[in-house]
């Protein structure tokens, strides 16, 4: 954990920065091997085999993590995955217009989401159902977007969870502004209510100008912002090497803030590293970039056909790194949970999904008036006239009248 002093007092012994600015060939290579884990670069605390690796740097962020916490994280991930699968199925049944699956990214989302304090703010992209869940957003509240009955509908300020953002990269600047606001309001520092912001985006998003500008702004204003990039290896059909030569976390090097790659399928590592990053930000050492190295196990969305662009081998290899399985194995081996517990969670997940399903099937269509509401915060006579005219016209049909 670095302190503000460490950031602002020069130390001796650094080599020529000009040399540092020339990446080594292996750094270049690393970027080209988009589907390799990155070896030593990767922060991992729980191996795919469920083995707990010690980490002097990050273990201090997990001192409160006992078997109960682990069971909680396991449960979170199982529930979120089950809900995700249910939504995927409901899309196939025509109940949702589209679904954006998070399958495979449960650890990245639950781990980072659980690292947040209530006072922290989160800016999601459109796949962060797991983060939404950790922020206390009811899964049913997400459905409207995908059933096309609304455009985002939860208590944004209450949950401190911003609306989903579909235009790639936009939310990164919005989050930078929000975090600047936290700073300007004096919410950064050693006080217990100190705040930070986290912002989610994908590997593809890193190419967008807005993401760069978010990096520039956050760095220049020392904004308490954690950039959380879920590198799920694909931007629809494009692998990460279409976006970058170097591993994405290294992008931070050019801006002067830390970048780190974490095993995105390791919920403990995601929790610890995000806690560290948030803490850095809260204390005024932000921003920080986290690249969560993970994999999109399903299609980009339910309208996508990944067989056109990637091999099933890849999927098989990643199955072995499943984020839930490794926690299950670890809990079993360490005696943190037994089969009964797992069965219970599964049953709860099934109930969770069934409720979601019932809710979804019963969702009403919005009334036509909704079309005209909330365009502005104050009324607009022009729009009022359009509404009146349309509703009168529409009523004509309802009354069985002529068009």
């Amino acid at each position: 954990m670095s302190s503000p002093e460490q950031w602002t007092r020069p130390q001796s012994g650094a080599g020529s920065a000009a040399t540092a600015a020339q990446p080594s060939p292996e750094q270049v290579i690393a970027g080209l091997r988009a589907t390799t884990e990155g070896g030593a670069e990767l922060t991992q605390l729980l191996t795919p085999e469920g083995e707990r690796l010690p980490s002097p740097q990050f273990d201090p962020y997990l001192t409160d993590v006992d078997a109960e916490t682990l069971r909680g994280l396991y449960r979170d991930m199982v529930l979120v995955r089950r809900a995700d699968r249910e939504c995927n199925a409901m899309q196939r049944q025509g109940q949702l217009g589209i679904w954006v699956p998070l399958l495979g990214q449960e650890a990245a989302q639950v781990g980072s989401g659980r690292a947040l304090q209530p006072q922290d703010m989160a800016f999601p992209s459109y796949r962060e159902h797991g983060v939404a869940y950790t922020r206390g957003v009811d899964f049913t509240e997400l459905l409207g977007i995908f059933r096309c009955t609304d455009h985002s509908q939860w208590d944004f300020a209450g949950h401190r969870f911003h609306p989903y953002t579909i235009v790639i990269g936009n939310q990164v600047l919005n989050a930078a502004g929000y975090a600047m606001g936290q700073k300007f309001e004096g919410k950064v520092g050693e006080e217990p209510d100190a705040e930070a912001t986290i912002c989610y985006f994908g590997d593809g998003a890193t190419s967008q100008g807005d993401v760069h500008e978010g990096f520039v702004w956050a760095a220049v204003y020392d904004a308490p912002l954690v950039f959380f990039c879920q590198n799920n290896q694909w931007a629809i059909s494009e692998p990460t090497e279409r976006q970058s030569r170097l591993p994405l976390y290294q992008r931070a090097r050019g801006y002067g803030f830390p970048g780190i790659r974490v095993d995105g399928n390791d919920v403990l590592a995601c929790l610890a590293v995000t806690r560290w990053a948030l803490e850095e930000c809260r204390r005024g050492n932000g921003p920080v970039l986290i690249e969560a190295y993970t994999y999109r196990m399903d299609a980009h969305t339910t309208t996508d056909d990944p067989t056109r662009y990637r091999l099933s081998d890849e999927l098989e290899a990643w199955k072995l790194k499943d984020p839930i399985e490794r926690v299950r194995v670890h809990l079993s081996r360490s005696g943190g949970a037994d089969q009964d517990y797992f069965d219970e969670v599964q049953a709860e997940a099934d109930r969770f999904a069934a409720e979601l399903r019932d809710f979804c099937f019963a969702m009403p269509d919005p009334p036509p008036e909704r079309l005209f509401s909330s365009v502005y915060s104050e009324p607009s006579p022009q729009l009022d006239a359009q509404r009146e005219e349309y509703l009168a016209y529409h009523a004509g049909f309802a009354d069985g009248g002529h068009r």
Binding site: I145, C148, I168, S207, E238, V375, R403
Partner: protein, 348 residues
Amino acid sequence: MAAPVTSAKPVTETHTETQATVQKLTIGKALNAGLRAAMEADDKVIMMGEDVGKLGGVFRITDGLQKDFGEHRVLDTPLAESGIIGTAVGLAVRGFRPVCEIQFEGFIFPGFDQISSQLAKLHYRTQGEVKVPVVIRVPFGGGIGAVEHHSESPESLFSHIAGLRVVSCSNPVDAYWMIQQAIRCDDPVLFFEPKRLYHSGALKAPVDTTATPDPLFASRTVRQGTAATVVAYGPSVPVCLDAASAAAEEGRSLEVIDLRTLSPLDLEPVFESVRRTGRLIAVSEAQSESSITSEIAARVQQECFYSLEAPVLRVTGFDTPYPPAKLEEHYLPDLDRVLHAVDRALEW
């Protein structure tokens, strides 16, 4: 370099003996065939965009092109629209003829600056010395039950920017020819594609690749009539044609004009028609305020002042953001709303 696209000469020949010159195609397949023909005719033609390669684009309009022409002619670009358009401008300056795909119209905005500051103005800025023959293909419009940003109609914005040409096709034959003509045009062309019609089997039509296409920058009367004129473009054209059929059954004869070129407009056929019918209904999915339909109304009321027996009426999207898709049936001009407007115009 390229022959003037306003000429009526066919811009491609069938390329193999074995291939039939007439095929029944959807709009989507016709665009694909048109792009293929353009790439065969000129090896400076390249495709650029997100997922246009292996995936063939999310709508499959570039399907098979990367396989056949290689990764250097069909580029899966990084995910950034300013980058797509900005590099296309540079490639065009170098002598290429880039065809950019914007995945959905709602994602053209990060590229707005490059479009308005460079693409639209380089030719004027340099008194024609620098040509930027870039085509930007934009799937647009609603009615596909999609989430936000996937159903908008931003074409009017581009029609307000001088230096750009804006066109839209509404049927497979036009799709096949217009895309090739746009690519051959030395001006930048924003090519708006009616996404919900891409794969419409009902609109499938025989496309004769040896035919002589109409000029690109001309409107076309697609149905003759006498009682009122309806002008539309892109996805609204089939709606208006259906409305005209329905009206015919009720004994009212509607003339329907497919604008095809949205900027600069070719309004002569509209003026001529309105002088006969005395009534005009302009239809578009876009918001009405400061739009192409506003422009049509403004110009028609001036040019046909003494012919109009009713004001020009507009049937458009409302002045709201595009609503959640469960409400889009209310937002989009449909047969009933068009006929309602016709009624009002006739009763004026």
